[in-house]
Symmetry: C2
Subunit: 424 residues, 2 copies
């Protein structure tokens, strides 16, 4: 059996995880997949990460040009992260006829339309199962399963950091700031958590997943995005009282030429399969016009789950497969498609008011005047002659709810609009 030689660019957590699997299960992969894979080179800034992981330091390589010029290497794993130099290095490898397996969601969300034609022109594969939802084979499923179905909607819990934080808030009743601190201490959140907690990471992934699901480019920049930093311990308590969990969802919908794409916190009913996806686990729930509802669940990040997705891509790529999306509208929304900003949803609204007769009625009237129908309301007395009013609405238009909130904020006896969270 011919040994197939590959390289790894970026030997951090995920690159190291892939290396572990390729090393530990090399014989197993040879026996079950009929492919013998050898890591021939590891590119990084220095060889310290190799020593730290117990990898053979003689594999160390410091030059992408050297890697690109090695004719024996037929495939390169990119686990550097970020846009540059990952983008330039990937282009270099593709131009030298090497297939690329990447875990880089930011790069893909921003430069897929640039990279795919280069891969195609050089007869190379460009694989990215590891870019979304760790070891969960959702990219493969969107490309090669239920192909006869029009996917109507996807709902993803696709960021492990925010799901860890929200799960912790839900379990322990703590505030966002405390949950974030613990997540940082445990390595679930980065020192600068912006990309995760503000929903950028989820939006990158939704751009990739939505493009595959809807067979049209869903540009990252057009996705509505709202993070979890404003979710309070009180919101979580209210959610529990009403029978919900709060999750950061990435939502994509397509109905004919209309598309919705948004990332924001959502009240998820407790009996919905997504409600029990806790901690660092991730899941993608989707609906097809014939297959109905499906859910894919698993570890959303981590060295070995993500490494597993990379190794799966390596085996697939070395098996000779190439698959391109060939969007006509690469990098931008198709001219015939309409992005729906005024989508329909249920809403949870929490308002602090003066504890006076008639205030609930005045707020209800504004909602009603804007065509927003109330499903349930509860009022709780607080200190300082204040009261908290909590509403759940029936399905309503986003713009009508926003307009209502502006009017409610102007009422004399309304002290503050504390929260507005959409309901699944």
């Amino acid at each position: 059996m011919k040994t197939r030689k590959i390289a790894i660019m970026g030997f951090g957590t995920v690159g190291g995880g892939a290396y572990d699997i390729l090393t530990a299960n090399r014989e197993y992969i040879r026996n079950t997949q009929g492919i013998d894979i050898e890591v021939r080179s590891i590119l990084d800034r220095n060889s310290a990460p190799l020593s730290a992981r117990g990898a053979d330091v003689s594999l160390f390589c410091s030059s992408a040009d050297e890697l690109a010029g090695d004719p024996e290497i037929e495939l390169v794993i990119e686990t550097m992260g970020g846009v540059e130099p990952a983008r330039s290095f990937i282009i270099k490898m593709l131009e030298h006829g090497k297939s690329v397996v990447t875990a880089n969601k930011e790069l893909l969300a921003k430069h897929w339309c640039e990279l795919e034609p280069i891969a195609k022109a050089h007869g190379c594969g460009l694989f990215f199962e590891a870019s979304c939802v760790g070891g969960v084979p959702i990219i493969r499923a969107l490309g090669e399963s239920f192909q006869g179905d029009k996917v109507r909607a996807i709902y993803g819990i696709i960021n492990g950091t925010t799901n860890y934080i929200l799960s912790k808030m839900s379990k322990e009743g703590c505030d966002y700031a405390d949950a974030l601190k613990e997540a940082q201490a445990l390595g679930y959140a980065e020192f600068d958590p912006t990309s995760d907690v503000e929903g950028f990471d989820a939006a990158y992934k939704l751009s990739i997943l939505g493009s595959l699901a809807f067979h049209t480019c869903l540009p990252y920049g057009r996705i509505y995005r709202e993070g979890i930093t404003k979710v309070t311990a009180r919101d979580i308590l209210n959610a529990h009282d009403l029978g919900y969990e709060i999750k950061l969802l990435a939502i994509g919908k397509r109905d004919g030429n209309s598309i919705e794409a948004r990332v924001h916190p959502v009240f998820v009913p407790k009996d919905h399969p997504l409600a029990s996806v806790s901690g660092a686990f991730n899941a993608v729930y989707l609906n097809g016009d014939f297959v109905g509802d499906l859910m894919f669940y698993g570890a959303g990040a981590g060295a070995h789950p993500t490494g597993s997705a990379i190794v799966s891509d390596v085996i697939t790529a070395l098996g000779g497969k190439k698959k391109y999306c060939d969007f006509d509208n690469c990098g931008k929304l198709d001219g015939s498609m309409e992005l729906i900003g005024d989508f329909v949803s249920g809403y949870y609204i929490c308002v602090t008011v003066d504890d006076k007769t008639g205030v609930l009625s005045r707020i209800s009237t504004i909602l009603s005047d804007n065509g927003v129908s109330i499903k349930s309301a509860l009022q709780r007395a607080e200190n300082n002659d204040a009261a908290t009013v909590v509403f759940l609405t029936h399905s309503a238009n986003e713009h009508s709810v926003m307009h209502s909130l502006q009017s409610i904020a102007k009422l004399a006896d309304v002290r503050s609009i504390d929260s507005m969270i959409r309901v699944l």
Copy 2:
């Protein structure tokens, strides 16, 4: 674009479902997959099912020989069910160079090892995503995702009928017989429900899924099988009190050369993702050595979910793919593998005893003497000077528990051993 012509053998629920999708989404499939698929012939005993579904009656064909002899048909969908004549017809089609897409789990579990070499010899594909778990793409995932992982265990809720019955018992507190009657009235259970409720159907599927997961033939006949007919309303109540749901699980495990394969009711902890898989939904939960835990969830049966899996296979097959398992040990357990009958599990045991001093102690002593450690026990007074004793054990060997139960049954103050259900 060249039109690709296919046929359907067996125009019942599932065959009709596939036809619906191929008809309704023909243009969509053409646009997104680049394949134009036309159903050219439908084989059945008579044309009534075609008329009933509004299918073009001119497609009716009554002869498998005629179908096999039509050079324009390059692929045949088999949705007849049962072993014969499905087996003979499939062989005929393969021998005439036509790829086959089948939903027939019984046939596959019993004759995979016969059919695959015939397909291979004639350069045809043999696809069976629809044979297990309806529209959930678990066959594709086991073959083409996490290939670098050694799958250590799979746990499947893979029979919709039993999950419907158990969910109903759990929700309404009714007895098995009543839940079965309603399932039959609603079409979720057949007039003769044996294949579902006695676990045969789940065992067929476990044979297929386990063989793929463990890369070795897991013969259907070697699977331990126990149905749900003995699960009582009291068992469900006890399960709830202890924090569990009862599910019929198909369990496969591999550790080196040791294999476990069994289908039986299981106490599933309420916070396990499988516990919330209710009604006619199915799920496969699995663990790989690097990817960790994954779960695949969706509708386990039904015309359109199963039809969706068939259409996915048709598109894949027409795309030119062929994939064979090539087990050395086809049809039987590999000589180097050991099937573990004395597996390890937790146990729930429910016993009716005379309500006398010392009986709990006598039972506990027997369990302890057999090395079975008790996790929790509760005793409830009943009418007629009787009491119910419920035990949950820590992990113990199956044979030790069985041996204990034989001894417990012989105790003078034990009236009956009412239930023994394994715990996840």
